[in-house]
């Protein structure tokens, strides 16, 4: 049985109309408070997998369980960060962050404000609170998306290639930030990415998906401990695992 707070996928499959199998019998258990990276080449169905967990689409077979309860739709207990552009362009930074809280009937204005302030500070956006998204850089916009998801206090944070559109320096800043947030909030985090370095740096575990159909081909622990910074990327253990995962991704990427 699944324990409290665990996220569990049981034989999850997704077939699209027309018969393409995006995901084939995925079984995966993510413990509460852990950080799991899912890495795979294009065509491995990794974004589909995340949208099934988020509840934005339903699996055609199997079940997704959170806390032992089947996921039947999207909800604020599972925050989702898209690659880009999913901030509300017509809302200021602070009103973006407040979006989920505004929907809650018994949350006072003062309480909302306190929480928004905390998440703005946590993501380094306090001075930009009145700015509109069009005035922000790509990295700042992703900070808004992260703060907005966190403000709903989700049990699980789902990250769908969140830094794929950022330049390398910004991307690394964001990786460090997300590790910090994870440590500060004890949230369960699942990231999908095609960037092997990112997967190894962020996750306590790296799950490798093969393509056509998407399926789990490896599930490797990351032997790095939880105290990581950018210099971790130069450690021999890091480089060895990175090379191993890269070979796996290549081996199971159907020749394009």
């Amino acid at each position: 049985m699944s324990g409290r707070g665990a996220l569990e996928l049981v034989d999850v499959g997704k077939r699209y109309e027309g018969g393409v199998t995006a995901l084939d019998r995925i079984s995966l258990r993510v413990e509460r408070g852990s950080f799991v990276s899912i890495v795979g080449a294009s065509g491995s169905g990794k974004s589909t997998l995340l949208s099934l967990i988020a509840g934005l689409s339903a699996p055609t077979s199997g079940t997704v369980l959170l806390d032992g309860h089947p996921v039947t739709g999207a909800g604020p207990d599972r925050g989702l960060i898209f690659q880009q552009g999913a901030v509300y362009p017509f809302r200021t930074v602070e009103r973006n962050v407040a979006f989920g809280l505004e929907l809650l009937p018994r949350l006072s204005r003062a309480e909302r404000r306190t929480r928004v302030d905390w998440y703005l500070a946590e993501t380094g956006l306090t001075t930009l609170r009145k700015a509109l998204p069009r005035q922000l850089s790509g990295g700042q916009r992703q900070r808004v998306a992260i703060a907005r998801a966190l403000a709903c206090e989700p049990e699980v944070l789902l990250l769908d290639e969140p830094f794929g559109a950022l330049d390398v320096q910004t991307k690394e800043d964001m990786q460090v930030l997300i590790r910090q947030i994870w440590a500060d909030t004890h949230i369960t985090a699942v990231i999908v990415t095609h960037d092997v370095e990112e997967a190894v740096f962020l996750g306590q575990r790296v799950v490798v998906l093969g393509s056509h159909p998407g399926r789990i081909v490896a599930d490797l622990p990351v032997p790095l401990g939880d105290d990581r910074d950018l210099s971790t990327k130069r450690l021999p253990e890091f480089l060895a695992l990175r090379a191993q995962v890269e070979d796996l991704v290549r081996a199971f990427h159907a020749a394009a």
Binding site: G79, P89, F99, R148
Partner: protein, 279 residues
């Protein structure tokens, strides 16, 4: 599959002479100086005006083409008699009623069509077809059905703008990124909340743009309706002036029609810029 290892020794590619640098005024999308911009903007109005003037003087028959001054003098005369105000209000009132009704119905319908696939499938075929029936061709029918009073004129304006505004609104609504809708669900929003708090605010500037385009049509069709059958309005004023060969009055009415249309456009543009500050 083997890849070629040596590139064949083709003859050299033909050369073109390098392009000359073009002045800003003739270069694609290159900004021009403020002064050049101002000069061109003034010329844009002044050149046709002067051309009108020269033509009027050359023809020297005010019943064919009055000078701008004569047209303005006629306008002042009409204004003084009170006829201009009465006619202008009659036309504006019809537009407010007909186009107002079109907006009141087309915006919710467009929202429905753009938000729900079922709404799109149900309404797009019929509206896509009906909008190609020229609104003016309904006028005789409208008169037969609704009489000679206000109703057929208001209805004509409605028909001329309703279908287009519906489809344009639906397109704007369909342009709301799916990511934005999905992420709203993950933040706890329900369907109605996504419509109210995401789809509508995101679509608002585009909806006003659509209204601006169709306002021009509404303003055009009130004149058409009044030319066909009316005893008031700026279109009626033109008809009446034509009957008595008062060409200067016709031009005065045309100028007023143009100015009011321009004013409507500016008003909507200002509204759009205010609402769409985030764009």
């Amino acid at each position: 599959m083997t890849r070629p290892t040596v590139r064949p020794g083709w003859s050299a590619l033909p050369q073109r002479r390098p392009p000359r640098r073009r002045p800003a005024i003739a270069a694609l999308r290159v900004p021009i100086s403020r002064r050049a911009g101002a000069v061109l903007a003034v010329a844009s109005i002044a050149v046709p005006l002067v051309a009108w003037w020269i033509a009027a003087v050359a023809i020297s028959d005010p019943q064919t083409l009055p000078t701008p001054v004569a047209a303005i003098r006629a306008g002042v005369e009409l204004a003084r008699s009170g006829a201009l105000l009465t006619d202008t209000w009659a036309s504006v009132r019809r537009v407010l009623l007909g186009f107002g009704l079109a907006i009141a119905l087309s915006v919710p319908l467009g929202l429905l069509m753009g938000s729900f696939r079922a709404g799109w499938s149900l309404f797009e075929p019929v509206i896509g077809l009906l909008r190609y029936l020229p609104a003016a061709s309904f006028m005789p029918l409208l008169i037969a059905w609704l009489g000679l009073e206000e109703a057929p004129k208001v209805m004509l304006i409605f028909l001329a703008t309703f279908f287009f505004n519906t489809l344009m609104t639906a397109d704007v609504v369909r342009g709301v990124p799916m990511n934005l809708i999905d992420v709203s669900y993950t933040l706890g929003a329900r369907t109605g909340e996504v419509v109210r708090k995401v789809i509508i605010p995101h679509s608002l500037p585009g909806m006003i743009d659509a209204i601006r385009v169709n306002a021009a049509a509404a303003w055009g069709f009130v004149v058409v309706a009044e030319l066909i059958a009316s005893d008031s309005g700026l279109g009626y004023r033109i008809n009446r002036a034509a009957r008595f060969r008062h060409t200067d009055d016709m031009f005065a009415a045309l100028i007023v029609i143009g100015l009011i249309g321009f004013a409507i456009d500016i008003m909507l543009r200002v509204t759009r810029d205010r609402v769409g500050r985030w764009v």
